[in-house]
Symmetry: C2
């Protein structure tokens, strides 16, 4: 047992073993030049003393941190939790640390965090964008500093890097058609900001599905929800109370499907009797409302893994610039299954 409070670092190990710091360092890093004998001795003592290398000293020296940042708009959403889970899975297996930044949907925060990261705290950034503005300066700054950035979900189309998305257009198209096939023709759309491709593509899928099925598009049925529950609630309540109320709803994101569910309850209507609802959402949450809601479940965990994978590939090649590509993962429509079984489909 070592004496208490002796600092255990390369220096103290070296002293005890009567070696130099560099030899000890090399032994610990499994350098091929070191004799097996020495390696054994070093590792033995290191273990005995429970040596843990100082990550900050190493990072300072080699200018790599084995740390990545994840910047997301919010975390108390099933989608982002699942994505983080996927990222963590990938990162941990490669010995990377995960720094979490939550912007709370604020573009200003996003910019601030990106600026913070210019100092080399992290080797790379995984990010889903926030806010309405779509200014790229802070992203470009990261890339200029040779910090690779991978986008997922709310991607920035203009950025020349890897973007991991769901097949938003197809999913929205399929989802809308799903309602149409069940005889619903008065379909409302609860949409999100069209700043990012997910907003644009989901809306387009909805519109095209209507059009290709010879269903007229009604302006009043298209609700652009803001980032304000109360406001959205009122809009939806008004819509569902109107004389010509829709009998089907397509929700572009989970929160809106849930909000819709609440409004329907409030109004004493039923799902799916009075109104059929389908929307993007993830399995553990909205699908529990099974079988009243139908869910378009995104492979959130896989999105996390894919994003991390792309980033690590770049990092392996010393932060080599990422190719400007879109990787599209498929969502599945889930109806009338248990949460657990549905999860198997992803």
């Amino acid at each position: 047992m070592r004496f208490e409070m002796k600092e255990v670092n390369l220096k103290s190990l070296a002293k005890e073993l009567d070696l130099s710091k560099s030899t000890v360092s090399r032994a610990l890093n499994d350098n091929y030049q070191i004799s097996i004998e020495t390696k054994k001795r070093v590792l033995k003592l290191a273990k005995e003393w429970n040596y843990q290398l100082n990550p900050y000293a190493r990072s300072l020296r080699i200018k790599k941190s084995k740390t990545i940042a994840v910047i997301i708009p919010e975390i108390a959403s099933n989608f982002f939790s699942l994505v983080i889970n996927g990222i963590e899975d990938m990162a941990r297996s490669r010995g990377y640390q995960l720094l979490i930044y939550i912007t709370h949907e604020s573009n200003a925060n996003e910019i601030q965090y990106c600026n913070l990261l210019l100092n080399g705290r992290v080797d790379g950034v995984l990010m889903s964008m926030s806010g309405e503005v779509n200014d790229l300066t802070h992203i470009e700054a990261l890339m200029e500093h040779h910090i690779p950035v991978v986008f997922f979900d709310r991607v920035c189309e203009e950025a020349k890097t890897v973007k991991i998305i769901t097949n938003d257009y197809e999913s929205a198209y399929m989802g809308t058609e799903h309602l149409i096939q069940r005889g619903v023709t008065k379909i409302a759309y609860l949409g999100i900001s069209q700043t990012y491709s997910i907003g644009k593509n989901r809306l387009k899928g909805y519109l095209d599905a209507l059009q290709n099925n010879q269903i007229g598009i009604k302006e009043e049925y298209i609700i652009n929800c803001a980032n304000n529950y109360d406001e959205n609630y009122k809009k939806v309540e008004k819509l569902l109370s109107s004389a010509d109320r829709p009998t089907g709803v397509f929700a572009a994101v989970e929160q809106h499907a849930l909000l819709c569910y609440n409004v329907v309850n409030k109004l004493g209507l039923t799902i799916p009797g009075d109104i059929k609802v389908i929307g993007f959402s993830n399995l553990t949450i909205a699908h529990l409302l099974n079988p009243s809601l139908t869910t378009i479940a995104q492979p959130a965990f896989e999105i996390g893994r894919e994003a991390a994978k792309a980033l690590f590939e770049s990092l392996l090649k010393n932060a080599a610039p990422l190719e400007n590509t879109e990787i599209t993962l498929k969502s599945v429509i889930v109806e009338g299954q248990s949460t657990f079984n549905a999860a198997q489909n992803l």
Copy 2:
């Protein structure tokens, strides 16, 4: 505009300003000894060049990282997401970074992560324990290294530090009585491991409520769920299919309430008609099943904030040992409200 690729650090700033590194450093750290004039000049250039100090160099030097670790069993759970949200809120406002470690309920992972953290990567640790084993060695190691640890939710009673919990006993008691008051006497309990206080106290609350209401305790009604969905599902299915099936269920955690919901659906029964269900859960998820499930909602966001607050207090006093205290936050029983309104109660 600065010339491209010039490294911007104390040295380059000092050179440009014709000052020494130390003066620049002091100016940036708002040292009182520096003349206002110099400070202005330094800050101006720092801003112009978008200087970001190297956190690793600083950490190495001052042996503090302004980083805390959060170790949780899982993240794709509403409770832990909300806790992280609270922690992040507190941490960000104090300029701390957040490192996330997910153990996936494995005690071995928990031990590994704690050992990793002995190297001083973080200034403190916030943790909810994992697994069945309750060995304290890895926790004690952290504290010996003067790294304060604060527990929340799944706390380790033996550890002499701050523990943030919900009023588990009272909540379980109230919840069970809630069912009794509605005329339910055959109440099953879907429990969790009794390794931690949350498991023990919730069970005790359930048992005492039955006892004080002169209701006999039936062994068969007490299901100790494992960490395996399929297995648990079978157990609950068997219970709810039995001749003497319960007409009420108390779920000790969200997942079990949801599982119960699925089983009930599968069996063609209804909630609350055939079976009334109440359980710990959080608002955005299970409460959407409103009004069929009744929820005991924990103040998860506040738990995160309280935990972080306690940790920062210790850090302010240079990682002073935390007092061995339990801070108990109150949960609320929520029934028949919208998610949004219910959230206001916390």
